[in-house]
Point group: C2
Chain length 479, copies 2
Amino acid sequence: MASIHCDVAVIGAGTAGMSAHRVAQRAGKKALLIEAGDYGTTCAREACMPSKLLIEAANRAHDVARAGAFGIEVPAGTRINAQAVLERVRSERDRFVGSVLDQIAGIPKELHLRARARFVGPNTLELDDGRTVEARAIVVAAGSSAWLPDSVKAVADRLMRSEDVFNLEQFPASLAIFGPGVVGLELGQALQRLGTRVSFFSPLAELGNVSDALIRDVVLDVLGESMAFRLDCARLEALPAADGGVCVRWCGPDGQAKEQHFERLLVTTGRRPAIAALGFEHTGLALADNGVPLFDHHTMQCGTSSIFLAGDVSGEHMVLHEAADEGRIAGDNAVRYPEVRGHLRRTPLSIVFTDPQMAVVGRRFVDLNPDQIEWGESSYDNQGRARIMGKNAGKVRVYASRETGCLLGAELFAPGAEHTAHLLAWAVQAKLSAFEALQKSFYHPVLEEGIRSALRNLSDRLHLTPDIANFGLRYGPGA
Amino acid sequence: MASIHCDVAVIGAGTAGMSAHRVAQRAGKKALLIEAGDYGTTCAREACMPSKLLIEAANRAHDVARAGAFGIEVPAGTRINAQAVLERVRSERDRFVGSVLDQIAGIPKELHLRARARFVGPNTLELDDGRTVEARAIVVAAGSSAWLPDSVKAVADRLMRSEDVFNLEQFPASLAIFGPGVVGLELGQALQRLGTRVSFFSPLAELGNVSDALIRDVVLDVLGESMAFRLDCARLEALPAADGGVCVRWCGPDGQAKEQHFERLLVTTGRRPAIAALGFEHTGLALADNGVPLFDHHTMQCGTSSIFLAGDVSGEHMVLHEAADEGRIAGDNAVRYPEVRGHLRRTPLSIVFTDPQMAVVGRRFVDLNPDQIEWGESSYDNQGRARIMGKNAGKVRVYASRETGCLLGAELFAPGAEHTAHLLAWAVQAKLSAFEALQKSFYHPVLEEGIRSALRNLSDRLHLTPDIANFGLRYGPGA
């Protein structure tokens, strides 16, 4: 069969792959984009976009149910029309996918290869249609796929993965969710607000994206009011029930065996790099324990090879904005190889769109050396603007280097965290101290004032606050 | 009568005065707080806090009415219970006022003077109870009061000022608002969403806080869908109507005389420094045209005197966070006089809590030299997250120095502007260029990506964007 020669071959036409391919193409290189599956990104097809659409509907339903507290009297009988909810989710999702397909359509046809690729040498890919690709450099942007634990093997025929939720026709009356991580919590709370009884199960204690137990405990308190959390489960397993549903068995921390029936099971136990069929073993690259080649975060280069990683396949971030960056970096260096250059990376930022929202900024608490940091915190339980909104629950903790005073990171579970986390991420990237961040503008009354309280607490604890800053009126009413 | 001697006398126990008094007291000075009126700040009693409470209820009503678009079917007959709406507004407002009163209660009784003060010399105040105060330094934090134009003189007995709205028992069926400024737009839209038919009247063309006509035009388009705007009116006047209501007469831009009847009139034509009875003419200070002494923005000192201004009385910002800062600065320098020191000020930030929200960051567009700046803009009409939320309307414009590339300011009319304006204010204060701001973290899908689009546009227009940044995939779907 034919052997195709090119400058840059990109495996995978998702966000990272499209980004890398575009860089190489614009640099005047012959760049091939190899994709076996459907076009359209994970983000648009099955993750960020449809989940935000479902969450929006769920939060509307929640707000309608609580409008009475604000003097807005809604007659009994509000109906959650699942078909209508999901129709909006799907039609808007398809519109977002359509915008991706338009980008794909802009790539000349001869640069697309519709095939599955695997390495047979460091510069050689074998396609499943028998052809071979020889490339000066190769960008691997093969994405990720859902990982299923052994505990759900017995119900493989009836479990849902996250993307299946958007293709439901009705919301289930009851739902077990294995994996209270980022996606599980988002979809779980959305479905709960749309009328489903939701229970989470996990052999671990973690929730969402936060690593600070003091934040996690507040998450459990607040979300635990409307959903059940079975954490630290032993011998967790899901079994088929006779009625087509699922029977979950587990041992709680008390050691007692328990069993509960659910209409459906949603498995959100995370995604893993989609590397199974890539043949990395034929590249000569050093591989990490998870089978992904060792790579440099700033160049995306694997060792000193002409192979570059981009996006979810690296197993590092699995968020869209990093995938787009990594595609750009990998594409740039694939073009420049062997003269690669490092690119500065952004401050890590991870957001869970629950209500309240969770966010992790910069270094995770668990990755910081407790002897080298100071923290500051504030509660949203009585924060002024949050109180006005009827959303006064949550907590924020910020971390700084004890030596330099610079902000290192933050973990949040608070209303509006998607916004305040951006402020904190920008402050971390600018290497501001808490005291410097406090010199910035804070309006009143805003949710950002809750962040200010945490920064003030941190600044005080570092003894960085000059007397004068403490002397004035620290806050307006309800800051 | 007795003459009272002290180190620092503070006229006015609002946000600025309390802040100044606290600084002086903590510095070990004998500091008197002189207040004739009720305690509690403008913010808590009649402005920021109750207006945000009313707006919250109004937005809930609005969201209930539009829930159907998300698949949440609310039966006909939603009732806006004005008593319940206003009861929550008042009880939460009173709680915020209570927190201010608690702060006041913490000040030793002998340091309060319940009297009206006027200057009889640069260091001497005469109180309306006949006593005299001799002070080494005096902080004037007398606040502001609503200003009423001649056009409403004939209906002085029946007009409402902003604070009267919170003490209503029913919302009027129809309302004329004189003054589509910050407060007028906030309260007007809130009342419109609570069932009132609202018409704005102004002899001017300005709306809210924005000065850029390209933003203002979008404000007019969007808010004009639900409220009437009679701008550039000639011969505008309000007259008493026989039924107890108000008859508004004006000439439109077409020169035709018009007349319309309203149940109530709300006058929100702005606030002026409350200086009438202060006797500044006895201080020997140079006065500006508006009667306020000339002062230094960084020291709050009037000339080289021992008199300092703080808060609304300066006529400068009239927002809480600046008042608190100015109290701190004035208090510090009253203590240190004559060795005053300058304090760095924050980037100006002004927010109007309409939907979409308006915000002005840094230098207003109208105050920038068009020959020296470059701009960037983006629309929210199809912004991804805004679309998901069903709030895709608005526009953002950012301004930078053509010479240095540094961001100077921004004007926004966009969903979530209260949050994104903070990001921009921090960026302006850090003297970032648009390109530098683009190196910061932006999650997906978020409203902040609309700001990124404007920054990207600005960066492109300044030719500051390196090729590589353009080469990669610029955005996720619907950014």
